[in-house]
Amino acid sequence: MKHSMFGKKLKMRLGGGIVIAVILMAIFAPLLAPHDPYDQDLMSRLIPPFWNAQGDWTYPLGTDNFGRDMLSRLIYGSRLSITVGVAAALLACTMGTILGMWAGYSGGYAETAIMRLADAQLAFPDILLAILIVAAVGGSALNLILVLGLSGWTVYARVMYNMTRSIRERPFVEAAVSHGARSAYIIRQHIFPQLIPVLTVVATLQVAQMILQETALSFLGLGLPPPTATWGNMLAEGRDRMWAAPWISNLSGVAIIILVWGINMLGNGLREHLDPNQRGRQ
């Protein structure tokens, strides 16, 4: 196949680069942030970023309504956004993979029950379930992770169910049975390893989804309670001042879009890389 400048390699490099940069930023937040993200200074409220005429290099990206440094809040905010997104995706992934493999491998009543439940959840928007639960129990990081994880499992369950069923029918699984292998061995040795690449792609893309869902909940006032710095909270807080101080919502929006775009590009590039149809021709 002709080598292309605009193929999957570019997607993976761009996406991977962004993701690594943001993760490094989250890890080294205390070293990078010029101020304490929770330090309120009512004397320096709503200072615009440096490119604005009233800008001030003490606060390169300006300050918010309480005079907190935007740059520091953005840097610290990446920590919770990433943690919630990754943990929720992992929870959904674990749950969905186990249930999907179970349904696909054993068939019978387990299959009917699990897949019918997944179908039913289709009729129940993820975000609605999250809204109902968070409205009832309140928003904490743990609650958000649990709620987003529980509502996101169906994606994995459906993918893993279909894959398990098709792998189960492949001759090399039959060969293992003919050698006397038990189900546990077949799942461990022959089925699960084949699922990992697809799992990686779906999980990557879902981290992006989870980060967006967290911001959506924050927007509705159901996210982590203030003054916690998450990108979703900052975006929601900026909404009320979008006329007077547009940089608050715009900067956090740009931060979200860059990270989520990077994750999505990485996921799409990975998917194309792992697509057996395309790989076979190389």
Partner: protein, 305 residues
């Protein structure tokens, strides 16, 4: 074909039952309903009404039975904020939501499929990269932020369109565009994938060997075979579309079920919340049935038992 539709219709009650069950569990298990759904200032009458309404003295299973019975009769109770039966309140908002969702869906489907085809035909070249990158950017955009930006630009700066509310077709544009971006990027990407997969099918070579023109191959042979996975995806994404309309309606103060639901949650108007969840679920299930019927009309293999 008929049996297929009937069987699909018969799965609806099972789905609805599960939805009602989940709603019930969420509402009861997450704490004392009275404390959760009424705030501290609740009057004793309100508390008593709620207690009676929820049959809180009965065992949980009996509570569920009574709950289910009320739901099946369409009796969701009196709305606490409007002091009228909850179901008509919700149904009164249905039209606005359907209007918003269908316009957004049409917009997303047409442009998404068109964009996906262009990206597939120019695979690994600049148009493909730009379309894919844009689609992914759309997927990565917090939709309410997009809504805010649209209001900022088209309503506040340019003053071309109203900021929110309803009334004319101009009111519909910004919410519909915002909601459409929930699905448009996915449609581009999924169409691109299925067109690429279908492009290597042998029956296209057959068509070419008959002397068919490229446009006839695209519209008579490729698209009818590539569109079904896009429709399947649409069925799977119905929930996200409704979730999106909750947020969109809140931003633009669109008088649909979504904004009603959020408001009712904060007002702790439980009957309205349950009625809205119920109606939304039925709508999603029916939309999925519609997608299935559409698919089996396109692909005769789907009509099999």
């Amino acid at each position: 074909m008929f049996a297929f539709i009937v069987r699909r219709l018969l799965t609806i009650p099972i789905t609805i039952l599960l939805v009602v069950f989940v709603t019930f569990i969420v509402l009861r298990v997450t704490g004392d309903p009275v404390q959760i759904y009424l705030d501290i200032n609740a009057t004793p009458e309100q508390t008593a009404l709620l207690r009676e309404r929820l049959h809180l003295d009965e065992p949980l299973i009996v509570q569920f039975g009574l709950f289910l019975w009320d739901v099946l009769r369409g009796d969701f109770g009196m709305s606490l904020q409007f002091a009228t039966p909850a179901l008509p309140v919700v149904l009164g908002r249905l039209g606005a939501t359907i209007q918003l969702v269908s316009v957004a869906l049409l917009f997303a489907f047409v442009f998404g499929v068109a964009g996906g085809i262009v990206a597939a035909l120019r695979k690994d070249r600049l148009p493909d990269f730009l379309l894919s990158a844009l689609a992914v950017a759309g997927q990565s955009m917090p939709s309410f932020w997009l809504g805010i930006l649209l209001i900022q630009t088209f309503a506040l700066d340019l003053k071309w369109l109203p900021t929110s509310g309803t009334g004319s077709w101009q009111h519909l544009i910004l919410p519909a565009v915002t909601l459409a971006t929930f699905l448009l990027p996915n449609f581009i990407l999924i169409t691109r994938t299925t067109v690429l997969e279908t492009r290597s099918e042998l029956f296209l070579t057959t068509a070419r060997s008959k002397g068919a023109s490229e446009s006839s191959i695209m519209f008579r042979h490729l698209l009818p075979n590539a569109i079904n996975p896009v429709l399947s995806f649409l069925g799977l994404q119905m929930g996200r579309l409704v979730g999106g309309s909750i947020i969109t309606e809140t931003i633009f103060a669109w008088p649909g079920i979504g904004s009603l639901m959020i408001r009712s949650i904060f007002q702790r108007d439980v009957p309205v919340v349950i009625a809205a969840v119920f109606i939304v679920s039925i709508a999603i299930v029916l939309a999925n049935l519609l997608v299935d019927i559409l698919q089996s009309l396109i692909d005769p293999r789907m009509r099999l038992d």
